[in-house]
Structures are given as structure tokens and as C-alpha cells.
């Protein structure tokens, strides 16, 4: 096993945290991230916000205050560490490492890494600016949170890579039409409540929860249509079609003199919306909890500072001399910008269901407290912050020492094919500190690693 310096780990974490430090959502749920998302049925108080509001009814500390919980995740579903290691780190020779030569099999393997011919790049960051939960034993639990979420997703057809690998051989056609991208920066002001309701006889308790969200949109970008292709005829004529529609709401920080400024608590919103969470949770005996929830039902209406960029051009190059306007191709790619019309986009509606078993209540010889849990998650909207790919999570939390809960989990599906999570907490009475990652295998370079993530949170309980 090869040992290397670990300097890049904190640096990467710092970079990610810096890049996404002004955003938020489920990724700020540190305990859940440590269990690979399996903590759905066992999350309580602030951990339940945005996951299942019904869990607020579960008995927990009377008052909880949390600030500055941060979670970030980024990666792709096509470039795994195994692929990177095999093809992009060279081969050892007497003169050191040199680039590996890609033969036909290698090219095909790289192209096959794109699920259905399209790869996804995702980045999701969450910041819990403020979270307060209060529990009244006779009523249930309330929570108020302010969460920023910055999420982006890009879909890239493997024809881009095919073009790079093979070039434009005569007769080749490259279709980039399945390219798309979405990115949004939203702030959720969420009031959640969960309370017990009458339960059937086989259950010990049953709770219903709901949350109302006011959403401020600080920025949105999407590439909605992208009918772009490059064809090379059998006699060398190039035909390029460029057609796309991109929408921007808000100010583009990458553009000079755009007027973009960052202000954590007085950021100007360009879109407004509302959303709802609904959830149901219940206990079967003392040891088992189950739940189901539907979160982020709603939409954001983008109404200010709207810009559309439209391109629709076909360029046929038979004789280079005929391309009289040297900027024609560049202009075709840039498209034409115009003021856009108001539009609406769904919040990242997500369906979750899960079960948690308090093993220590069933098996007496287990030392400490042990929870084993499973959850199923599926995005219902093609929106930044969720994925239409379903995800199954299995996780465990073991408090062998009460002040040091250890968490781990494994998840299959979602934007990642498989991920291994690890996290721990340091709970010192009134103060709790938690740290987690859903991609702990990054540390030892698992072949299937294609994402990196980290979450950090603090909490005061009374």
C-alpha cells in the first residue's frame, strides 16, 4: 500500500467549504451525512428539519440552538477514482510516470462510464445559518431554520469525450443535444412542526409533521435546450449546428461590472417562492421507528433581472475562404442575449422513507447505544439539489461512549453508484460538535469513489 502525505485532505475540504460557504439543505444535516443518509427515521429536532418534520414529535432536548452547520458535496457519476487511477495517472517507466496510451478498449471503457451516454456533474452545498427547535411534551416539536442552499448540476453527453478521443473522422456525427445544466442559490426560511396523533394498536406512537417554507432566490442559471452537433461529411465538409437556450436570473458574479455583491443577511433576492414539507413517523415498540416524507413541494418564481441567451445557427464550412466573418463561429456560440420573461422552477421535491432500529434495546449485551437504519430517497423534480436517480442508504450510529457517537453507512444509487460514509460527534453536555463525510473512501482511494463531501456542525442543547 502506497503512503503519501495527507496535506491535500484539509486543503480540499477548505476549498470546498470556501467555495460553497454560502449555501445549505440536507447536506448540513451532519448526523445524516455520517450515516450515508440512512438517519431519516432516527433524526430528531433540528436534524429532522427538511428531512421529515414529523420526527420533531420524537422526544429530545427541550431546546436546541444551532449555527453555522456546513455541508458540501461535489463529484460526478462518470469519473471514478478507479477510472482516474487507471487512465489519468500514467504508467511507471524507467523515466518516471508517462501518460498511458489509450487503445480502442480503453476509449470504450471511458465512454461506457457515462450512464446511458450522459454523465452528471453535481455540486451541492448547504449552510444552516440559524436553527432553533423547541419541544413541548404535550404538543410536539417546533423548529425554525434559515438555510442557504447552493446546488448545481450539469449533464454532459459522452459525445464530447468521443470527439476528444476520436476527432472528426469523415462521416462522424457528434450530437451534444443532451447537454443541460441547472444551478440555483436559494435561502429557505422554514417553520416546521411535528406532533403526535392517534395511532393504531400495533404502534406505540404516530406523528404527523408539516413545514412551511418561504424561499428567496438569489440566483438561477439553466441551459434548457442544447441542440448542438458537429458533423463531418465523407468529403470533409464540416456542418456545425449551434442551438441553445440559456436562462439567467440574478446577477452573474463571473461577469465584470455585473454589480454582484455578497451580503450574508441582506442579499438581494430575484426570485420568491413557497414550499411545503409533509411527513409521517411512527414507533413500533420501543426499538423501531419508521417514517415517510415528501419535502420541498413548491416552486420559485423568478421575476427580476432575467436574461435569456438564445443561439440557433448552422454553419457549413466547405471552403474556409467562405467564412468571411471571422467572428461568425464565436458569435454563433455566444448567442444573442435579451431580457427574459418571468418563469417558475420547482423546488427539489424529494420522497423519503425509512426505518431505524435501536439495537441496544433489543440486544441487551450490546454496549452503549446502537441504531441501525435504512432509508430510500428519490427526487421527484429535475431540479438542483436532488436527483431523479433513487438512492438506498444503510447506516449505523454507535455511542459506545456517550459523548463520542460514531457513525457509518453505505449508500447505493443517487448521483453516486456507491458511497461509504463516516462521521462522529463530540457531545459535551450543552455543546455538541459533529463532523461527517459521505465519501470516506476518498481517504484510501476506493475505485468507485467519484464524489467528495464533508459536513461540520455545532449545536447547543438545553
Amino acid at each position: 500500500m502506497e503512503r503519501r502525505s495527507l496535506w491535500w485532505i484539509p486543503l480540499a475540504s477548505l476549498v470546498c467549504t470556501t467555495v460553497f460557504a454560502f449555501a445549505a439543505g440536507e447536506k448540513a444535516e451532519v448526523r445524516g451525512m455520517g450515516m450515508a443518509g440512512a438517519a431519516f427515521a432516527s433524526s430528531k429536532s433540528l436534524d429532522a428539519v427538511g428531512i421529515n418534520p414529523a420526527n420533531l414529535a420524537m422526544k429530545d432536548d427541550p431546546f436546541t440552538l444551532s449555527i453555522a452547520c456546513v455541508g458540501v458535496q461535489a463529484g460526478s457519476d462518470f469519473l471514478t477514482y478507479g477510472l482516474y487511477k487507471q487512465y489519468f495517472t500514467g504508467v511507471e517507466t524507467g523515466d518516471g510516470r508517462v501518460g498511458k496510451f489509450l487503445d480502442e478498449t480503453d476509449k470504450q471503457k471511458i465512454l461506457d462510464a457515462f450512464r446511458g451516454g450522459v454523465g452528471e456533474l453535481t455540486a451541492d452545498a448547504s449552510l444552516l445559518l440559524l436553527g432553533v427547535s423547541v419541544q413541548f411534551p404535550s404538543i410536539g416539536g417546533f423548529a425554525f431554520t434559515i438555510i442557504d442552499q447552493l446546488a448545481g448540476m450539469a449533464r454532459i453527453p459522452n459525445d464530447y469525450v468521443r470527439f476528444l478521443l476520436y476527432g472528426n473522422t469523415p462521416g462522424s456525427v457528434y450530437d451534444f443535444g443532451r447537454t443541460s445544466a441547472h444551478a440555483a442559490w436559494l435561502r429557505y426560511y422554514t417553520l416546521s412542526f411535528g406532533g403526535t396523533i392517534a395511532h393504531p394498536s400495533f404502534m406505540k406512537w404516530l406523528a404527523l409533521g408539516a413545514a412551511v417554507k418561504l424561499v428567496d432566490g438569489f440566483g438561477y442559471y439553466e441551459v434548457e435546450q442544447f441542440n448542438t452537433s458537429l458533423a463531418t461529411s465523407s468529403n470533409g465538409i464540416l456542418t456545425g449546428r449551434v442551438s441553445y437556450l440559456a436562462r439567467l436570473a440574478g446577477l452573474d458574479p463571473t461577469r465584470k461590472q455585473s454589480g454582484f455583491t455578497f451580503s450574508p443577511f441582506s442579499q438581494r433576492a430575484f426570485g420568491h417562492g413557497t414550499g411545503f414539507d409533509l411527513g409521517l413517523a411512527g414507533g413500533v415498540g420501543d426499538a423501531i421507528t419508521i417514517g415517510v416524507s415528501l419535502t420541498d413541494i413548491g416552486q420559485v418564481n423568478w421575476e427580476e433581472r432575467l436574461e435569456e441567451t438564445i443561439a440557433d445557427t448552422t454553419i457549413v464550412i466547405d471552403d474556409p475562404r467562405q467564412v468571411e466573418d471571422g467572428a461568425a463561429i464565436e458569435n454563433a456560440l455566444k448567442g444573442k442575449k435579451s431580457a427574459g420573461s418571468p418563469f417558475s422552477r420547482s423546488l427539489p421535491a424529494t420522497l423519503r422513507t425509512g426505518i431505524a432500529v435501536h439495537v441496544d434495546k433489543l440486544v441487551e449485551w450490546i454496549p452503549g447505544e446502537m441504531i441501525m437504519a435504512a432509508a430510500y430517497t428519490k427526487g421527484l423534480a429535475d431540479a438542483p439539489g436532488t436527483t431523479l436517480y433513487a438512492r438506498l442508504s444503510l447506516g449505523m450510529e454507535w455511542s459506545l461512549l456517550k459523548f463520542l457517537p460514531l457513525r457509518t453507512g453505505i449508500a447505493f444509487g443517487g448521483t453516486e453508484r456507491a458511497s461509504l460514509a463516516f462521521g462522529f460527534g463530540l457531545h459535551f453536555g450543552l455543546f455538541e460538535l459533529d463532523l461527517a463525510t459521505e465519501n470516506v473512501d476518498v481517504l484510501w482511494g476506493g475505485d468507485e469513489v467519484s464524489h467528495a463531501s464533508i459536513a461540520f456542525g455545532t449545536r447547543f442543547t438545553f
Partner: protein, 687 residues
């Protein structure tokens, strides 16, 4: 406490050990792979006119291999546009109300038997009874003449003994006219049972007041046995009607009813296009309606042949208008995007309109309503019906033509001034008609002389007929020669083409299915004007050189791109493809040279002095080119040639023509073309 510390020790030992497994990822090293790059180098089309203009040494005076100045210029398309139309005749029609429904509630009358006391138990003797007539009134109308319907009399015997109806029972109106005769069969009504008899009311007229007469019954009695006389009515007669359709009625109460498709009328549309199917572009039809019925009605109408689009299909056009009693109303139908289609597949000469009337339930003063009451409809064209496309028989219609064609005759011919054989000039109009009917072109070409006067040449009568598809109109050579000679010596650059085209002229107009064709707003006649003038010059063997900038993408006379040396070094193989097409009836030889920035020679393909040779174009028996010859030459580039290729700024073509005097005569036309296309395919390794 000891336990706590021991647990902590185990945990930290595990954590510390696990860090031994952590790996730093290997630094990225980009892979290498083979890739292709294909891009065009240039495409050039030389006409023979271009070639001889560049080097007049190709020309010779007299002798064989005569050159014909030829020019083809596209003619502006003449389209039908909005000239295909339907012109429905203004029509006044009437739609009858038709037979209408009458609903009359059943009338129940108890027949009193005074000697039977309800509730008592007593024997009923064998008795024959005669009762007084029942006099009552049907509430639905005052007077009516029916088209159809039935009337029934039901007798209910609530006694514990049978009752026999001894004579038919008659129904009279107030004027003692017999309305109906009720004959019961069997005539006996068992105890506690009923019997019904009916009669047909079709074509009968009567008033609402009626009298039921002949109520004579016989009972065999209870054979002396006391029986319980029931409480309530012992004998009941109920008169009811069914399916009453009236031709005329005086009514105070009219039931709600919809008289569906009760009349049909027609609009003639056969004065213009005879339609099999036509899609309308625009148009509107105004319907002015006058209600001559004493009722407020909703008049609904539906066209059988006029349909409107719903999604991807068409449904019959229907609409409605409210008309007060004896009142009027109007409606304008927008027929844009509708379809008129024949149901039978035959040619359509009329549009059928079906009318329906919806009458709301009304109660008020008695009114007289007759099935012949009608709604008068005046139909006028609010805006012309213009077809977008039509399948049918178009009556002869004229389409105007007037366009200016820039032939560039002066520009093209001035260098051959004095060497033109104008009397032998030829003028042809090559047309392509997308109109699905024969057409006649009444077209004249006009041009202005230097003196200011105009001269004309007209399409000969024998050449006028244009059939669908491609046609060629050859002008009379004598007239053409005179035309150009009158314009000489300075031939004009442009000519005016004007006149009219008659679509489906009378001699081919066939108003039957055999004459059906297709035409649309975008149908029309396009084509080219072809001029050819023989020269007193011939063509001889020779070469022509031409130099142009490679990839002048910025149009500044300089190469717009250059592959950097490092990138070029990645390409270790390359091919240049040279595609030639020879439309000149002379053997072709081509070499391509790549020149540097100061036009220094870098390399020549295929080899200096060894051109790519291509046979002459194929000619027919008259020496006219019928097919070009083609070839594609693939040249492998060495590394040195690849390097030369990258630094080259100009391409120099050497085009050689070799005429063979010994072979059969050929016609050289100045619009014969030589096409040269070059592209390259580089293969290399990305490092």
C-alpha cells in the same frame, strides 16, 4: 473510569492505525491517444468563362472547338399566392322548424260506483253498469294537428270481482269528433288488475277538451259471497299520450326540446374551384338569421363539408345563435384554418348546412307553432375565401409575372465584342412548375437598347404550354437573333420578364374527377433564363494559374489559422484529398502548390509537373456536355510535407485543358465548370 479510558484507548488505536491505509491520489498524468482531424482546405469552381478570362491564350480564332457564350440566371419564382379562392354565392335560404314534441301529463279520473260502500263487507251481485262520460282537458295544448303519437286508456279495477268492458270506449273532442277508440282485449279486467288499450293519433287534429264515452261494464259478482269493498277509488280511468309529434299546435306550455337536424340547406360554391379538399387560409362568412317562429330559440347549425381543426384532426364546423321570437340575429364565421372536404370523394359543388333548434321550456300566452315555421338565413361572404392549398379543379386563373433578370450580358460579352454570332443566339426559359395543372405562359422578354428604346421577344404560341414539373421554352431562334441584333453592340445586363401565366386554361379545364390537381399558395413557376451566343472563337490547349489564400477566415487576405508547431508535431500522418469534377469537354490536368508567406514554393501535389489528370466530360452526338467526369485523389503527406503544409499561406492551382483536335467536334460553353475541392485528414497522437 478505567473502562472509559480503556474504550478510549481502543478507539484511538483503531483511528491511528486506519490512517496508515490512507493514500494520496497519484498526480494526474494525461494519457495519450490517436486522433483524427478532418477539415476542408478549399473549394473552387471555375467556369470556362473564368478560365479563358484569366488567360486568353486559351482562345483561338476560328477553326474547330468553337466556344459558345452561355449564361444561366435564375428567374424569380412566380407564386400563386392568394389567387386560389372559393366564392360562395350570396344565398338566402330558410330552414324549417319541423315536427316538434308535445308532452302531456296523464289524466286520471275516478269512476264512482255509488252502491258499493268502501270498507264494508257485502256480496256483489251480477250487475251491468253504465257510467256517465268523463269530461276533462289535456293541458299541453289548446289545439293540435299531430304528425305521430299514440294515446292510451288504462282502466284500474280495484274491486275483488272481475269487470268486463262490454263496448269499445270512445274519446271525443269538444266538437264530438272521435279522436280515438279504445278496444280492450281481452275485455275482462281481473280483480285488482288493470287493462290498457291504445289508438294511433297520427294525422289527427283535435282540441284539448275531451270526453270519454261508452263506459259500460259488467261484473259477474261474488256469487253471493260477502267480499270486502276496498277503501279508495274502485274503478279508475287514466288517459295518457306518448311520442306526440305535432305538425301544428296552439300551445301555452311548450316543453324544452332539441329538434336535431330537422332541416338541411345548401350554399353553392361551384362558381370557382371545384373542391375535393381545400385548406383555407382566410375568409369569413356572415349569416344573418330571421326567426319567423313565435318562440325564442337557439338556432344551431352544422356544416357537413366545412371542418375546423381540433388538435390534429378536423371536426364539422358548428355554431349557434340565439334568436328571440320573431327576432333576428347574425354571426360571422371565421373560416381561416378550416378545411372544406368532399364526403363522397366527388367534386364538391355545395356546402350542406344542417340546422337544429333548441327550445327552452316556456309557459305563457298560447301561441301557434307549425312545423313549417322557419328561420330565414341570408349568407354573404364577409371576406373572401382564400385557399392555402387545394385538391380540386381550378377554373382558369391568371397569375402575373414581372421580374427583372440580371443576365450580365454586357459584363460577360464585352471582351468578346465583335466575335459574337448574334443571329445564331439561343434563348431558353427552363421552368419548373409546382402547380398541379397545365399552365400557359404568355410571357415576353424585354430589354432596353442603348438608345433608350425597348425591344421584345415573346414566347412562341407553340411553346406556351407548361406542364407540372420541368419544362423548357425555346424562343424562336429568328426572333432571338433579331432581338439581340437590335440590342447590339452593347447588350444590356438585365432583361425584364413580364406577362401572365394562365393556370388550367380552358382547353384542358375538366370539371370532373379526371381534371383534379393540386395547388397551393406557395405553388408557382420557377426556373432559369438561359442565353447562349456562339463566338467566332475556339478553344485550344493551355493552362491557367490561380492563387488563393488558405483558410482566410478573417477575409483579410491572410490565413486565418495556423496549427502551432507543438500540436503539429503530434500529427505524424496526414492525407490530402483532391476531388475534381470536370464539366468541360476537354481533358483536365490539375496540380496544387502550397506557397509560403512571400509566395515561396513549399510543395506541389501530387508532384511538380505531374498533374492529376481527368478525362473530358461526356458529350452527346451534338457535342454538348451531358455528364461531368469525376475523380478523387488521395495523397499521403510525409512529415516534411506536413511541416510545409502548416507554414503555407497560399494555394496555387494550375488547371490545364487539353483539347484533342482529332476527335469528334464538341461544344465549349462558357458555363462549363471545373470544380476543385480539397480537404485534409490528419492523424496523430495526442500527448
Amino acid at each position: 473510569m478505567k473502562s472509559l479510558w480503556s474504550r478510549l484507548a481502543v478507539l484511538f488505536l483503531f483511528a491511528a492505525t486506519s490512517f496508515n491505509c490512507f493514500k494520496e491520489p497519484l498526480s494526474p498524468v494525461l494519457p495519450t491517444w490517436d486522433v483524427n482531424a478532418t477539415f476542408p482546405l478549399g473549394a473552387r469552381v471555375y467556369t470556362l468563362g473564368d478560365l479563358v478570362a484569366k488567360d486568353t491564350s486559351l482562345l483561338k480564332t476560328g477553326g474547330s472547338n468553337q466556344i459558345i457564350f452561355a449564361k444561366s440566371v435564375a428567374l424569380a419564382s412566380m407564386t400563386v399566392n392568394d389567387r386560389i379562392s372559393l366564392t360562395p354565392k350570396d344565398t338566402s335560404v330558410a330552414m324549417k322548424l319541423g315536427a316538434f314534441s308535445i308532452t302531456a301529463p296523464p289524466k286520471r279520473s275516478a269512476i264512482i260506483i255509488p252502491w258499493l260502500v268502501p270498507g264494508q263487507t257485502m256480496p256483489i251481485p251480477d250487475t251491468t253498469m253504465v257510467f256517465a262520460d268523463i269530461i276533462s282537458k289535456i293541458d299541453a295544448f289548446q289545439e293540435v294537428t299531430l304528425k305521430s303519437g299514440t294515446i292510451s286508456l288504462q282502466l284500474d279495477n280495484n274491486l275483488p270481482v272481475a269487470m268486463e268492458i262490454t263496448t269499445p270506449i270512445l274519446l271525443f273532442d269538444q266538437y264530438d269528433n272521435v279522436i280515438a277508440t279504445f278496444t280492450f282485449s281481452p275485455p275482462t279486467i281481473p280483480p285488482f288488475s288493470s287493462r290498457t288499450a291504445s289508438d294511433n293519433l297520427a294525422s289527427k287534429s283535435f282540441t284539448s277538451d275531451y270526453r270519454i264515452s261508452g263506459l259500460q261494464f259488467h261484473t259477474p259478482g261474488s256469487n253471493g259471497t260477502p267480499v270486502q269493498i276496498p277503501n279508495g277509488d274502485l274503478l279508475v280511468a287514466t288517459l295518457s299520450t306518448a311520442n306526440l309529434k305535432a305538425r301544428q299546435a296552439v300551445m301555452a306550455e311548450i316543453p324544452a326540446q332539441r329538434l336535431v337536424d330537422n332541416d338541411t340547406t345548401r350554399i353553392r360554391i361551384d362558381d370557382s374551384t371545384l373542391v375535393k379538399e381545400v385548406y383555407m387560409k382566410s375568409g369569413a362568412l356572415r349569416l344573418s338569421l330571421q326567426n319567423q317562429i313565435a318562440l325564442s330559440i337557439m338556432f344551431l347549425f352544422r356544416f357537413d363539408e366545412l371542418e375546423r381543426r381540433v388538435g390534429n384532426s378536423f371536426i364539422p364546423y358548428e355554431d349557434s345563435v340565439f334568436l328571440p321570437a320573431y327576432g333576428s340575429g347574425s354571426i360571422v364565421l371565421d373560416i381561416a384554418r378550416t378545411r372544406v372536404a368532399s364526403r363522397s370523394g366527388d367534386l364538391l359543388r355545395v356546402l350542406n348546412i344542417r340546422g337544429s333548434v333548441w327550445v327552452a321550456s316556456t309557459v305563457g300566452q298560447p301561441v301557434t307553432v307549425s312545423e313549417t315555421d322557419r328561420v330565414s338565413i341570408a349568407m354573404t361572404t364577409a371576406s373572401p375565401f382564400v385557399a392555402d392549398s387545394a385538391v380540386g379543379v381550378v377554373k382558369p386563373v391568371w397569375v402575373s409575372v414581372d421580374s427583372k433578370v440580371n443576365l450580365g450580358l454586357w459584363k460577360g460579352l464585352q471582351k468578346f465584342s465583335g466575335q459574337l454570332i448574334l443571329p445564331a443566339a439561343h434563348l431558353r426559359l427552363a421552368t419548373n412548375s409546382s402547380i398541379g395543372f397545365p399552365s400557359d405562359a404568355f410571357i415576353t422578354l424585354g430589354a432596353r437598347k442603348a438608345s433608350g428604346d425597348s425591344v421584345f421577344v415573346t414566347v412562341p404560341a407553340s411553346q406556351r404550354r407548361l406542364m407540372p414539373g420541368q419544362n423548357a421554352i425555346d424562343f424562336d431562334p429568328v426572333e432571338v437573333g433579331r432581338f439581340f441584333s437590335q440590342l447590339s453592340p452593347r447588350l444590356p445586363d438585365s432583361v425584364r420578364v413580364y406577362g401572365r401565366i394562365l393556370i388550367n386554361p380552358p382547353d384542358v379545364y375538366n370539371p370532373t374527377l379526371g381534371g383534379v390537381g393540386s395547388v397551393g399558395a406557395k405553388s408557382g413557376v420557377s426556373g432559369t433564363v438561359n442565353v447562349s451566343v456562339p463566338l467566332t472563337l475556339g478553344l485550344q490547349s493551355g493552362i491557367v494559374r490561380d492563387t488563393l489564400v488558405i483558410g482566410d477566415t478573417l477575409n483579410n487576405g491572410r490565413k486565418g489559422f495556423m496549427i502551432d508547431q507543438a500540436t503539429l508535431d503530434q500529427y505524424n500522418r496526414g492525407k490530402v484529398f483532391i476531388e475534381l469534377e470536370n464539366g468541360v469537354p476537354a481533358e483536365l490536368g490539375v496540380t496544387v502548390s502550397f506557397l509560403g508567406a512571400s509566395r515561396t514554393h513549399l510543395m506541389t501535389l501530387p508532384q511538380p509537373g505531374v498533374p492529376i489528370r481527368l478525362a473530358a466530360a461526356q458529350v452527346d452526338g451534338s457535342g454538348n456536355v451531358v455528364a461531368s467526369s469525376r475523380s478523387t485523389t488521395v495523397l499521403e503527406l510525409s512529415r516534411q510535407e506536413l511541416a510545409n503544409y502548416n507554414t503555407s499561406e497560399f494555394l496555387s492551382y494550375v488547371v490545364g485543358l487539353t483539347t484533342s483536335s482529332g476527335s469528334s467536334a464538341v461544344q465549349f460553353r462558357t458555363d462549363n465548370q471545373v470544380k476543385i475541392r480539397m480537404w485534409t485528414q490528419l492523424m496523430g497522437r495526442i500527448r
